[in-house]
């Protein structure tokens, strides 16, 4: 069932059947419910889904950042360069976190400390993993800031976060993430709070950094437009499971899961002017009360009775393109 999807490169990160549950008030919310994915070297992999689908939880669990309690990693394995991250103790994890795997968050202002200068904060990140003397540390930081396209980096080192614009703050966060030459960068909605023109600049920056440093990026977003612009490989998540996976062409031109199809049809655009937008009926299920069987069946136009009972299998459409909907898979075979 779970074949190696993408033909290029070796897997750097491999998540196998990961399950993360949250316990509160006697209810068990299955935020991530058995997902498997992989990120290969030098690749940009996008996890796309709506709020509450578990995309952020799955990325936090890679870094061991799930607050426990209430969260708990119930099952699964996360392999990073061959070692299982879930089996490492905190001390070993700290060596990986920020060093080999770096993370960039959505809101740079809340992830930067307002009472320390930019230089202080980047310096701390660098020094933790690569102790060096003050002079070379400064030179290194200036180099980092100019790498991420911040003008007059030497002066910026003495600035406080509030003195920078949103786009610049995000650039600083990226500089911090890059400071230890990570093999993998996890970017969780890094451009959601930014304007489109700034977003375009940050995306382009990520792209050029990736080429220069041959780094893999795991990009988490809800924005299908961004995904189409940067992704080598896409995982579409819905209610804690992976509904569909494929490359940009497969996902955007030949979507095979009713949820992906619905999402794409509901995107407004100029070409749809005058026509009514398709909208997926209902709303995302509460993770504590997920429907039995396929979690999408209450909103699905193709649902038949087995969908209400059985958890759907992943169906293989070739070239790594897979969708978790046997109903459409069968229909396809009949029509061909």
């Amino acid at each position: 069932m779970d074949k190696q999807p993408n033909p290029h490169g070796t897997p750097l990160l491999k998540v196998e059947n990961l399950k993360v549950y949250f316990q509160s008030d006697g209810e068990r919310a299955r935020a991530v419910d058995g997902i498997s994915y992989e990120v290969r070297q030098k690749q940009t992999v996008c996890i796309v889904g709506e709020s509450g689908c578990g995309k952020t939880v799955s990325s936090l669990s890679i870094l061991g950042l799930i607050p426990s309690p209430p969260g708990e990693i119930v099952g699964g394995e996360i392999f990073f360069s061959g070692q299982d991250l879930l089996k490492l103790d905190e001390k070993a994890m700290q060596k990986i976190r920020g060093n080999q795997i770096a993370m960039v968050f959505q809101e740079p202002l809340t992830s930067l400390n307002p009472v320390f200068t930019i230089g202080n904060q980047i310096g701390e990140a660098v020094y933790t993993h690569k102790p060096m003397d003050a002079e070379s540390l400064k030179r290194y930081m200036i180099q980092l800031l100019s790498d991420v396209g911040i003008p007059s980096p030497e002066q910026r080192l003495n600035d406080y976060p509030h003195q920078l614009s949103g786009g610049q703050r995000q650039r600083v966060m990226i500089a911090m993430a890059l400071s230890c030459d990570p093999a993998l960068m996890i970017a969780d909605e890094p451009t959601t709070a930014l304007d489109v023109t700034v977003q375009a600049q940050i995306l382009e920056l990520l792209r050029s950094i990736q080429q220069k440093r041959s780094m893999a990026i795991l990009y988490i977003t809800h924005d299908l437009g961004v995904v189409s612009a940067i992704a080598h490989w896409i995982y579409v998540m819905y209610a804690g499971i992976i509904a569909e996976q494929g490359n940009a062409d497969q996902i955007f031109r030949f979507p095979r899961h009713p949820y992906t199809q619905g999402l794409l049809a509901s995107l407004p655009g100029r070409s749809k002017r005058g026509k009514r937008l398709y909208s997926i009926p209902g709303s995302v299920p509460n993770p504590a009360y997920k429907p039995k069987g396929c979690p999408f069946h209450p909103r699905c136009p193709h649902a038949i009775s087995p969908c209400r009972k059985e958890y759907p299998d992943m169906c293989d459409y070739g070239h790594g393109h897979m969708a978790r909907c046997p109903v459409l898979y069968e229909k396809r075979e009949h029509s061909e």
């Binding site: 709506e50 600049q201 407004p268 709303s283």
Partner: protein, 331 residues
Amino acid sequence: METTHKHNSVILRLENVKKYFPIRRGFFQHTVGWVKAVDGVSFDIEQGKTMGLVGESGCGKSTVARLILKLLETDEGKIIFEGRNISRFSEKEMKPFRKEVQIIFQDPFGSLNPRMTVGQCIEEGIRLLGVKRASARKERLENLLNMVGMSYDSADRYPHEFSGGQRQRIGIARALSVEPSLIVCDEPVSALDVSIQAQIINLLKDLQDRLGLSYLFISHDLNIVGYLCDTISVMYNGSIMESASSEDIFNHPYHPYTNSLLSAVPDPNKKWDVTLSLEQRYDSDAVYDGCKHQNKCPWVEKQCRTNPIDFVEVEENHFVRCWKTDKSDLK
């Protein structure tokens, strides 16, 4: 030379509207400068149509909304609603107009009172309309809830019990409760998920068809604006840079800023090309004789830095605030 879309049925017209906020410094709070949040904005909204106001955060689009609702006083210029200049109206004179213009906010949770049930919230508006009989109010409430696709049971529940999309529906029902003719939609769907976004956009369109509403649709999402709006004004740094029909903005944009905005939007249907937006330079805060876009414009020339730029009609009903309107110059 200012905008006049040549139509009779203009419901709202802004003429050279300005709003400056003082920058105060020091112990005595001396005014050391002005933030020109809205600096000479003019546009028309036609009856039953949707005008999109797009621009980056901080460009003044929400200030324009507040000025129209008279939540802020205009410093200069005219706001003409159904033929009458309301910009200098007193509170008392304003009262009948308040019902005519309503607003839907971005964050539906922040704009609903958590201690009022949905029913109470909407009924307040119905009462303001002068409906005295309780049974008539109830009937109207039921009507409104149906109109926005919610059941009457929701009237007794509180805002926190609803999802984001449903709250936005409640916000729309509340705006409709006083039977407005113009609704200002300030980023009404940007906080919602894609699948819910489509539901709300469809709802807004249905309501427009049924009730003949006019919308001022404020957004930074060009995909939505391109889908929904009849005319579009592109705002930058407190001024309108370009305004035209939706087709013209997308098919023949003139202004460099419009061009860079359009090229920055990733679209799943086409290959992404960011060349334009990347040519922009670092924006220093120093302001500004001449063009407001000079620090980010890839085609800036000496003239742009000295002379104020007029808003010129380059084609019928297509206005641009840039003197380099010969397209061969821009490419």
